[in-house]
Amino acid sequence: MNMRDLLVRGMLAGIIASVLATAFAFTVGEPAIERAIAIEEQNAAAGMPAGHDHGVMAATATATAAEAEEASPVSRELQRTVGLVAGTLALGVAFGGVFAIVFAFARGRLGITSDRGTALTVAVLTFVAFYLVPFLKYPANPPAVGHGETIEARTAAYVGMLLASVLLMIAAVILQRWLAEVRSRWDASILAGIVFGALVVAVSLLMPGFSEVPEGFPADVLWHFRLASLGTQLTMWLGIGLAFGVLMDRAARPVAQAAQR
């Protein structure tokens, strides 16, 4: 088992998972995005500042719609199909590569003997560290939610939360390994999990909050969109972990069969 093979399998698993994630995003996420964009355009027509057309204050709805059409060099039709596939694929390859590295560190170090078990554990932990924790503090927002002026502050806060989450997860896993030497693996995991949760809550209370949902934005669209985001990323990370496990098993099988003969 060398690193090159692990990285190739991770990226391959990322490609497989991004197909599943795209399918979920297209069927569940796109309707919410379409509704949010329709609201964004209505707001723009009413002269409310929002979204990509920062500061567009057109006199009439038709003028605004025409300007919005010109402002974006990529049509909605392209964004919601090829763009969604390409963007999710790029993220899948990136996450798959990161996953392979985390797996390489985890293999044989977590007290889990099967590659599939290690892969699934790593998938759950990376999903929590890279997506779930930052999402709980700074949930995904559909188009029309978020002020253009605060993009830099929000990006910095999001990246800060992401880094804190990843560092705390690494610390929690080290704590779990340390506790597992004196307690059972289950007890060690529960204690490390409690410490991780408490520290995550503490950090997120210290981080700045942003409340930028426009007045009157439909709560169901926001809920639907955020759930779709959660589902897309859960599909992505779990998909990577499970596909990676299958690829590892397929690679191991010929060796095991040869050994049995």
């Binding site: 996420g29 060099p73 964004q79 790029a90 590295i101 559909p142």
Partner: protein, 74 residues
């Protein structure tokens, strides 16, 4: 179910796995991190808080994937 003896032995006990040495992982970690940074940058951060390209085509093209990835956008 999970502890059923019908499962192959490798699923439950199996031989201990030898961990890969950290110095073998490190250069590959650097490679994977670099690839991930470039890809995630262009999907998530280009034309948002940062701006390396003169056009916003990439930003708009991957618009929906970025929103669903939970990354801050406009």
């Amino acid at each position: 179910m999970a502890f059923s003896p019908a499962l192959p032995a490798s699923e439950t006990t199996g031989p201990a796995v030898t961990p890969l040495p950290v110095r073998d992982i490190a250069p590959w970690a650097l490679l994977a991190a670099s690839i991930a940074l470039v890809l995630v940058y262009f999907v998530g951060f280009e034309e948002g808080a940062l701006n390396l390209l003169s056009s916003n085509v990439v930003h708009e093209f991957v618009h929906d994937a970025r929103h669903l990835a939970g990354l801050p956008c406009h």
